[in-house]
Symmetry: C2
Subunit: 493 residues, 2 copies
């Protein structure tokens, strides 16, 4: 072990070493450091060690362009990029709507060639991703355009990725343990993303989520290389969105911001990567994601109720789109945790157990929209995470109470041990009272008998559970007990 730090050296390495103690020294922990010429602190060279916590974070967000009507600029953008053939990804619904028509007209006006793929599946699967990849590989696309919600953008990202890797299978880059989680080393073709809902924030992230039918679990691919070159944030594009979709998508924004703001600090994540390329997209909360997440939280608590009440409220719609984008930058850097982790079995088991069909969704099968499935455990999750950072949860309570016009002067005096209950009440009130959401898992049809299955379905969501403060080892009794506790507290409120 090459080190020349003194015993009292305050540098990150030495502090870490102090914690690690002699056992790490005996293990020959590969930290390299030297004091600099000025006699100051040394620089930590990150060398692989599963024992060492992270010391850095990276923000890699897409460019965004905002304005009413900016969709019409995408033709010029592709012409400016020198695009020869654009792969345009959408779904069968959005294909007939104005945002898509505008985008296509823009390509035509600019004289840019393209092919349209509209067989994107809402809530994509390994199968639907595979079909999109097969389509893209047969074409000679040098650039990509996605017009739609998160499913469309996520599908375009994987089509782009696997065109650059013509021989790779989906599991090459899928998160471990389901996939092999290989880092993406190549530079991909430019992708411009045009969201038509204010929700996923996928236009700013390098994440694609899908249902793996083989293992019956939600997983995904996350790499900075996949993020769009440009997100087109055009408030005119959410005009055709039904109110129920506005609200569900807005709840996704709300919990992106809440979960990323309360995720474990990036310095608590391990292992420290041996190469910056291996630093994951979901890094834990950090000073930059905090600013984005808190801003998005405030905006959502303020403007989502306005959109729910009057979807023609153009200011509120524009602000929600910005909030979705900001929350995307926040969780795209910091990650999400329990609400998203538990939402997957809530959706997955709905077909066979709860059989809930959310109002306003024109489908002939049971459906818990993604945002709703995420929101259902919201009160209990932040009650559970409150002890990890009472001050952050106090801020959260303040946001909800201020917007509700309540007196917030007493918040500072609430004991740390009680702030969880206050946050629980604030979130429940917002969901049920303000937005008319179901009053917990029971009201969508889950029973106490289902709790064990919901816990079991959550445990494989390691990628997000690892970011949940205080959850413990979810493979052990400790973590399972915590999940049970959160789900029990989510049954009714």
């Amino acid at each position: 072990m090459r080190m020349s730090h003194s015993g009292g050296c305050p540098c990150h390495n030495c502090q870490s070493l102090k914690q690690l103690g002699n056992s790490a020294a005996r293990a020959g922990l590969g930290l390299i450091g030297k004091h600099n010429a000025q006699g100051g602190r040394s620089y930590a060279t990150p060398v692989d060690s599963a024992l060492t916590k992270e010391y850095a974070f990276e923000l890699a967000a897409s460019n965004v362009r905002y304005g009413e009507g900016v969709t019409n600029e995408v033709g010029m953008d592709f012409a400016n990029l020198g695009a020869k053939k654009v792969g345009v990804f959408t779904d069968s619904t959005v294909r007939d709507l104005t945002p898509m028509k505008q985008a296509i007209a823009a390509l035509d006006t600019a004289g840019v060639k393209y092919e349209i793929y509209d067989r994107t599946r809402v809530e994509p699967t390994d199968v639907s991703f595979g079909e999109a990849i097969d389509f893209a590989r047969k074409q000679q696309f040098d650039s990509f355009l996605a017009v739609g919600g998160g499913s469309v953008m996520d599908t375009a990202k994987v089509a782009n990725l696997f065109t650059a890797y013509p021989d790779a299978d989906l599991y090459e880059f899928t998160n471990a343990p389901i996939g092999r989680g290989t880092p993406v080393g190549k530079k991909l073709s430019p992708l411009i993303a045009v969201p038509t809902t204010a929700g996923t924030g996928s236009e700013t992230t390098g994440t694609s989520i899908y249902d793996d039918t083989k293992t019956q679990s939600k997983t995904g691919i996350a790499s900075r290389a996949m993020r769009p070159l440009l997100g087109i944030i055009d408030p005119l594009n959410t005009e055709t969105c039904p109110v129920s979709v506005h609200v569900s998508a807005g709840l996704d924004v709300l919990f992106h911001s809440l979960e990323s703001y309360t995720a474990i600090p990036y310095t608590e994540r391990s292992p420290r990567p041996s190469n910056p390329l291996a630093r994951p997209a979901y890094q834990g909360s950090n000073p930059i994601s905090d600013v984005f997440s808190m801003w998005a939280l405030k905006q959502t608590v303020k403007y989502l109720p306005r959109v729910a009440k009057d979807p023609t409220d153009m200011e509120a719609r524009g602000q929600m789109l910005l909030a979705a984008t900001f929350a995307g930058v926040g969780f795209g850097t910091a990650g999400v945790h329990l609400c998203h982790g538990i939402s997957y079995p809530i959706s997955g088991l709905n077909k066979t157990r709860a059989k809930y069909k959310h109002a306003g969704y024109q489908v002939d099968h049971p459906i818990v929209p993604h945002g709703v499935s995420v929101a259902l455990t919201g009160p209990a999750v932040f009650e559970f995470t409150a002890p990890s950072s009472p001050s952050r949860h106090r801020e959260i309570a303040q946001v909800f109470m201020s917007e509700a016009g309540e007196d917030t002067s007493a918040i500072a005096r609430i004991p740390d041990g009680e702030i969880g209950q206050v946050v629980y009440d604030c979130i429940a009130k917002f969901l049920v009272g303000t937005l008319g959401m179901p009053r917990g898992l029971k009201s969508i049809g889950y029973k106490d008998d289902d709790i064990a299955a919901l816990v079991k379905g959550t445990i494989p969501q390691r990628r997000v559970l690892d970011l949940a403060p205080g959850i413990g080892d979810v493979q052990g009794a400790d973590g399972a007990q915590h999940l049970t506790q959160v789900i029990e507290r989510s049954m009714a409120y």
Copy 2:
């Protein structure tokens, strides 16, 4: 004119047209729009017209990586990029300091080849830029690394740009009217920027500033294409920075945030560009830059005094680096205005008129450090701009007063007409009382006789003056009178 909007249509085009009236219609204003199939608002297609104001803005910030010691990762970054030969830009001072040594060691460890250019001039000129460009063109660099302050980063950017355009001269891309202001259409080589001061924010922007010796004026090149691929924000790198440089650089951050927060709204800028490529880097304030600028303002007012008092305060140094980066994103998107505009003649005329030499700078000639020259007009500038948005200036006063521990409960009740005076006092108190800066232009040696020359020297700074709310036409008597007023109020406080 192809339009099918009805008289009462609330869309952006129609609203703009209403303002423009029949004269625009007679002029055949090239706006194209059509109502969509859903009968909703139409999409504005931006078509060139000097009469039409902007309707969109774009955020294009660099990726950033933050952490104590992340400088050591740049070798792996270039290896990951497949770099064959890196052009390393620094200056003769930084060359011998730890940040540069760490960066070079990282390149060596990763086995990446490089050549060092250390003849960067502090406050670069067309001549010094030309030398750096000549150097770069003779090499076969496929990537660039900048280690230093703003001058170094700006020099590396132009070296990169003009390597991609081997036949272009400096004025091809220099802002009009000094240069031809041609938009940069090519994709440049990757540049990684490692700032060693918490000031310019150049690691996140596509701007390079220089003194044009031919016209004796400050100008620059601004293009999103030039922005670094990655900014390395390493608090260990400002350890070797002298206190006086910390403070001056920190003042630059302060006024980046204040000026960008108060710049004209992006929707007040004209003309609307005919192609997104022609949308300038400095676009006016917008909802995204506002978040960055306000955050940077709060951080700077909180942490700069701590760094000034104790430069070993690691937390404060780290926060100032983040603030510099955030302010860089803010002003890199929104722009700066009067403080920066007037700072150029303040520095330029110092040699012959004021002859001020700032304490702590080891030079044998008069010098007003950039941040100090910007700060000198601070109180008067925001007194002047207050009527353009009393609410924003109230927020600014609140930030200063809160941090000073003053009672802010009365701010909401201050009449709009008096908020300018309050902001004047807050900023003056912060500069003089907290940071010990000179008490105005007189205290650095300027006399009332110099005011006319300072005004005359400011007028050519159109690129930034255009973003100053309420300044009027600086080519006419109106604008000159406003500048005179601001400079008079900056003589002593």
